[in-house]
């Protein structure tokens, strides 16, 4: 469970202060699939960085599974990231010249998991994302969708409490993107995986069970999605005439 209370993050840019987060409070229960949406510069990436223990807040409290995060040292944060958090990025961020299996094994090696177990765990993580037959391939031998699936396997391999995805379909075409969203939906429904999905696209956000809207560092909306869209369904503005596309407020076509 994630509890965030009055979180503030203030950057200094020369003389002026930028309030990237200006008093954010929220709770995310285990097993939820939540979308954080907002335009660029809204603070959603900062919130994700703090939730993912990549950054520390200037003020406020952050508890994960009852443990306070805001006072931890760099090394303690690294340990939390290794044990409790899985990241999926827009740019995949796989190590080049390194096989899919070895990429998935990377978090295990930082978590002290040894040789044989490491391989088995990585292999079964690849199975979950349907890539067990691609384990020896290097990233440059894989398609974009396959690379992102390797990245999801890497995020899953330490069985994290929280899976954090930052625009994971941003670099993918509509069809491949739908496959990736389906993987997140399945992980959430079948395995009870807590997923926090950061996007600026409200259509993608409606694939989750809850949408938290953030603007100017503040939460401006927090609503349940009664009927989440199933991955693979066409976007409404794709069905309508192309002239109406802009209404979808989508900066990027899925």
């Amino acid at each position: 469970m994630i509890e965030v209370e009055n979180l503030k993050k203030i950057y200094r840019l020369g003389d002026s202060k930028v309030r990237a987060l200006d008093g954010v409070s929220l709770q995310i229960q285990d097993g939820e699939m939540v979308a954080i949406v907002g335009p660029s510069g809204s603070g959603k990436s900062t919130l994700m960085a703090i939730l993912g223990c990549l950054d520390t807040p200037t003020k406020g409290t952050y508890r994960m599974d009852g443990q306070a995060m805001e006072k931890l040292s760099d090394n303690q944060l690294a340990m939390i990231r290794s044990r409790k958090i899985g990241f999926v990025f827009q740019q995949f961020n796989l190590l080049p010249r390194t096989s899919a299996l070895e990429n998935v094994m990377l978090p295990l090696s930082y978590n002290g998991v040894k040789g044989k177990t490491r391989q088995e765990k990585a292999q079964s993580a690849l199975e979950i994302v349907g890539l067990s037959d691609r384990s020896r391939h290097h990233p440059n031998q894989l398609s974009g969708g396959e690379q992102q699936r390797v990245a999801i396997a890497r995020a899953l391999v330490n069985e994290p409490s929280l899976l954090l995805a930052d625009e994971p379909t941003g670099n993918l075409d509509t069809h491949t993107g739908a496959d990736i969203i389906r993987i997140f939906q399945n992980l959430n429904r079948e395995r009870g995986q807590t997923v926090v999905y950061v996007t600026h696209d409200s259509f993608i956000a409606r694939h989750t069970n809850r949408i938290i809207k953030i603007e100017d560092g503040k939460i401006v909306g927090d609503e349940k999605v009664e009927n989440p869209i199933e991955a693979g369904m066409p976007r409404l503005d794709d069905v309508l005439a192309p002239a109406h596309r802009d209404e979808g407020k989508a900066g990027q076509v899925l």
Binding site: A78, M79, R81, S82, N93, L106, Y110
Partner: protein, 407 residues
């Protein structure tokens, strides 16, 4: 995350950029090779010179007008033939003594011509200087008394002028004056500064009357280039030197306060002077080579800094999935250490090869010693560690969120 895994990561990163890694390593290779080769040459030269000086015999004393290392403002006295006669009287019972006068002269046999040191000597010159005659005979007392135009030549001189033919009985022209070759000396090898085999020896009396001309006389008295003494007992060397110096002061009316103006040295004194000079030279060569090692280290640091910048996102990713600060630090340190140790190994091989080629060429018997190799190798590793620490700290200190967003 153990050392072996870090090593594999380092190797992968280094092989990803083979040309760059190779060029970086080249700096270390050249540095280490330079240290190993130059130290080997220096040590080889030292041991070569000292062994030859030792071969001359430690009981040899040389009296000469020319000091090896003349102090500024010191006066030079003229050494007279009469001084030799007095010294012979004073210490003749303790040492064999022999006078000589040396000039540079052009020596000709047919169409072969070269400049040699031509030395006027007496009959006991060979025994004092430990020369042996391989063919023919040495210069005799009769040669001197009769001012005979005969010459004894060194083995190298014989090779140069006669190209393997028997020189005995043939004539050579020294400054245009004809001398008959009566003997060839056995080879003694080089003595560091000059070869002892490319000599031409003639009777001293013949030199005074026919060859040396006016420069061999001062105020109508015959002068000498030097006197060589060979102590019968090595223990007596120091007391003989004292006696010779005392005699010279007395004969030249010099008080103890006056500068002696002569050089009276034993081989053992020369040996210690020489080895201190060559030791300094060796250290100097090593220091110059160490500078190139330093430059190589800066190259490593430079390229690692570039590498840290290029791989900022990779570092961010590693941190995001749980790599602790020390693991990133170790990863980059292992990388620079791998470069420098591999460079050290290859550099040592190259240095040993260079030393071997130098030895083959016959100039100097370069000697690679274990301590030289250890010194070069460990300084390469230290250089890698030292110049790797700063970039590694930079990498380890990157904030993961900024590193991930780095474009």
């Amino acid at each position: 995350m153990n050392f072996f895994e870090n090593f594999r990561i380092a190797l992968r990163a280094l092989t990803a950029n083979k040309l760059r890694s190779g060029l970086t390593m080249l700096g270390i290779i050249i540095g280490v090779a330079a240290v190993v080769a130059l130290m080997a040459v220096g040590k080889g030269a030292t041991s070569g010179i000292t062994s030859q000086v030792e071969g001359l015999g430690t009981n040899v004393i040389t009296v000469s007008t020319a000091r090896f290392f003349r102090e500024a403002g010191s006066t030079t006295q003229t050494l007279f033939y009469a001084d030799y006669e007095t010294i012979e009287e004073e210490v003749g019972s303790l040492a064999k003594t022999t006078p000589y006068f040396q000039i540079q002269a052009s020596v000709v046999n047919g169409d072969r011509q070269a400049d040699y040191s031509v030395t006027g000597v007496t009959s006991n010159f060979a025994s004092v200087n430990a020369y042996t005659v391989s063919r023919g005979r040495f210069i005799t007392q009769q040669d001197n008394l009769g001012e005979a135009r005969v010459a004894v030549i060194g083995s190298q001189t014989s090779q140069d002028l006669f190209a393997g033919l028997n020189p005995l009985g043939r004539d050579i022209q020294i400054n245009g004056i004809s001398f008959s070759v009566v003997g060839v000396l056995a080879s003694k090898g080089t003595s560091g500064f000059s070869s002892q085999d490319d000599v031409v020896l003639i009777p001293l009396e013949t030199g005074y009357s026919r060859l040396f001309g006016g420069r061999a006389f001062s105020g109508g008295r015959r002068t000498l280039s030097g006197i060589t003494l060979s102590a019968l007992d090595a223990e007596q060397v120091d007391s003989i030197i004292a006696k010779v110096e005392y005699t010279l002061r007395r004969e030249h009316s010099l008080t103890l306060r006056d500068d002696l103006g002569f050089s009276v040295t034993s081989q053992s004194q020369m040996l210690s002077t020489l080895s201190s000079i060559t030791g300094t030279l060796t250290a100097l060569l090593g220091a110059i080579a160490a500078i190139s090692l330093l430059v190589g280290g800066i190259g490593i640091m430079n390229i690692t800094l570039v590498s840290v910048r290029e791989r900022t996102r990779e570092i961010g990713l590693r941190k995001a999935v749980g790599a602790r600060r020390n693991i990133i630090l170790a990863q980059f340190l292992v990388e620079t250490l791998t470069l420098s140790i591999l460079g050290g190994l290859l550099g040592t091989l190259l240095g040993v090869t260079i030393a071997w080629v130098v030895s083959l060429s016959g100039l100097i018997a370069a000697t690679v010693t274990v301590d030289t190799v250890l010194l070069a190798f460990s300084s390469a590793a230290l250089v890698g560690l030292f110049f790797g620490i700063y970039p590694a700290y930079q990498a380890a200190g990157l904030r993961p969120i900024e590193a991930l967003r780095y474009e």
